[in-house]
Structures are given as C-alpha cells and as structure tokens.
Symmetry: C2
Amino acid sequence: MKILIIGANGTIGKKLTPQLSQHHTIITAGRNSGDIRVDVSSETSIKAMFEQVTAIDACICIAASGPLDDFSTLTEQQLSADLKGKLFGQINLVLIGQKYLNNNGCFTLTSGIFADIPYRGVTGGAITSGALHSFVLSAAIELQRGLRINVVSPGMAEDSAADYGHLFPGLKPVSMQALVDAYEKTINEDITGQILRVY
Amino acid sequence: MKILIIGANGTIGKKLTPQLSQHHTIITAGRNSGDIRVDVSSETSIKAMFEQVTAIDACICIAASGPLDDFSTLTEQQLSADLKGKLFGQINLVLIGQKYLNNNGCFTLTSGIFADIPYRGVTGGAITSGALHSFVLSAAIELQRGLRINVVSPGMAEDSAADYGHLFPGLKPVSMQALVDAYEKTINEDITGQILRVY
C-alpha cells in the first residue's frame, strides 16, 4: 500500500513510520520535515499535498498536541485558534482527501484521552478530541467508494512522559508499541468508524 | 431558584418552562421572544444578558438544531458557520456565565443523539454534540465556586417527529416528558459533568 503519514517526525510518527515501512510504501509529510511540506491548518496546502501525492491508499494524520488553556479566562477567539489545526485540519484532510484517495482507501486521525477523561488545562484538547470522535462516526457512513475512517485516541505516549507527565499527575504513560499497533490495525483490518482508545 | 432558560419558546422549552415554573422563578431569553433578547452566537449579546439578569442560580440552554449538510461538498467554512451558534454559543454561555452565576449555580446545555449515533446529513450536528460532551466533562472539573454543569443529549423529540422524522428513518421519537425530566434532574440533583442521554 501507498501510505501518506502526516506528522511522521513526531513522537508517535517516529516509531510508526519505520514499522509501516517494512510492508508499505511511505510518503511523509509535515510542516517542517518530510517528503512533502504541508500545513494542515490550510485548505490550500492540503489540496496542494493531495495533488502532489497521487494514488494514496491510506492517509494517517498524527497531529501535534494542542496548547494548555486557562478555563477562567478562556475565550472563543483563543479556543477557535486552538481548534484550527488539530480539529479543523484533520476534518479538512478528510473532506478534501475523500476526492483523492484510491477506492477502498482509509483515513486514520488522532484524537486524545481528554475526550473522555478530563484534566485541568486542556479544555481545547477535550473539545477537539470529542468532536473528532463524533466526526469519525459520521464520516464512516458518509464516505463513498469504500473509503474507511478511524481515529486513534492516545493516552500519554511513553516518549512524551518526560516532557509532559508532570502536567497530568496520575496519567499513566502508554507504550509506544501499543500506540503504533493501533495505527497499524487501522491499515491492516477492514474496520471503519472505530475509536481506538489506547490507554 | 432563579432560572434563566434560553430557547424557552422552542420545542422542548415550551414543555420545560411551565414545569419548572411550578417551583422556580423563570426568566426566559431567546433570539425572537422571551423576557430578554439574546443572540448566543454573539459574546457581546451574552454578556449583555448576564449583566441584565443578575443573581441567577441556573442557566439552561435549549439550543436550536443545526442545518443539514452534504458530506461530499462540505467545507470548513460551512462547518464553522454551523458550529457558531450551537457549539461556540453554548461554550460561550459557560465561559462568560461562570463570572455571573450565583455560587453553586448550574449550567445545563443541549447536545444531541448524533454525537453517538450517526445519521447521514448531520456531520455538523455530530461534531457539535461530541464536542459539547467533552467540553462538559472538562468544564465540570474547571468551574469554581461550586458551579455545576451538565448536558442533555436528546434523541428526536416527540413534538419534532412530524417535521423531521422523515429525515431520520428508524430514529424513534422520545417523549417530551422524558426530555423535560432530564433537564429538571440537572436542576434538582447535585450532579455535574453528566451527559444525560435521552433516547
């Protein structure tokens, strides 16, 4: 299969990419690295990417985590900015990409544990992830030509624990292998509309 | 208790308002009717409302349903417009209202069944509702001064079935009383961070 990985150079992407490379042709895309440059917060950039990489069987997006927020002073403006990349960016990948992927291709998006288990300071992340879960349920019954879509909802990745663990006391890191396996499962198995919670 | 009901003149509001009036002081607000005019898609309008109605113990928002959408041609621009009122409007009610409600007051928002059970043509509604669910989980642990927050997720209201039932074949209408009881429960019981699914 020909697989496009957006965010291949991130914490999870670094482990996922070599594993998938064993059996598939990988094209990497990212804001600052990869075979192709893409800014997922821009529709124009997403379109340009899909025009460039033709005949894709799978598109995996491992989006970056969002910023922390302060609920007592949070505004719509800040929230909208925080939702721009990870929520609307990933939705746009699907809305635009549905015209480009090969028949029976698949999308794999990335949400996060805060959709279901709240922590302080991550309201924007929670909204993004909850929205993505419901989006994937809807998209799964809307997509045509046999296209599939799933979302991986990671807990705190083991490789992020040193940097972010102190912000989320009690949140147990999940192994990189478990995360990588979840993404790989969405490629290898004929599933759609699934939320793969890895925590 | 002094309860502010936004959307008191809508399908559910019409039944809820008289029931709550038996034991509480009700102030109604709406875009085109009610004691106070408010446009929940406007931060300015929400602020003006809270400045006007002081010492509120509860704020219930029974937002209107969103428009239908066509997934194959859906764009970020259309989606953003669809999310403006029901998602950002309700979030803004909480972000702004947290400064105005009485101690131990409560918010009750309205999502919908499409967060969990997808139908075609309602991707925007699904995203809105999924996002609201996760927002409420987060807000429940963020709100100060004993403030509570819950969300009612209605299926198709019995009184809407004649107008909208044909759009969602197989979606069984839920009784108005069950819906009204769910909203009332959020007022009377000391619960927070709950998603009350009524379907």
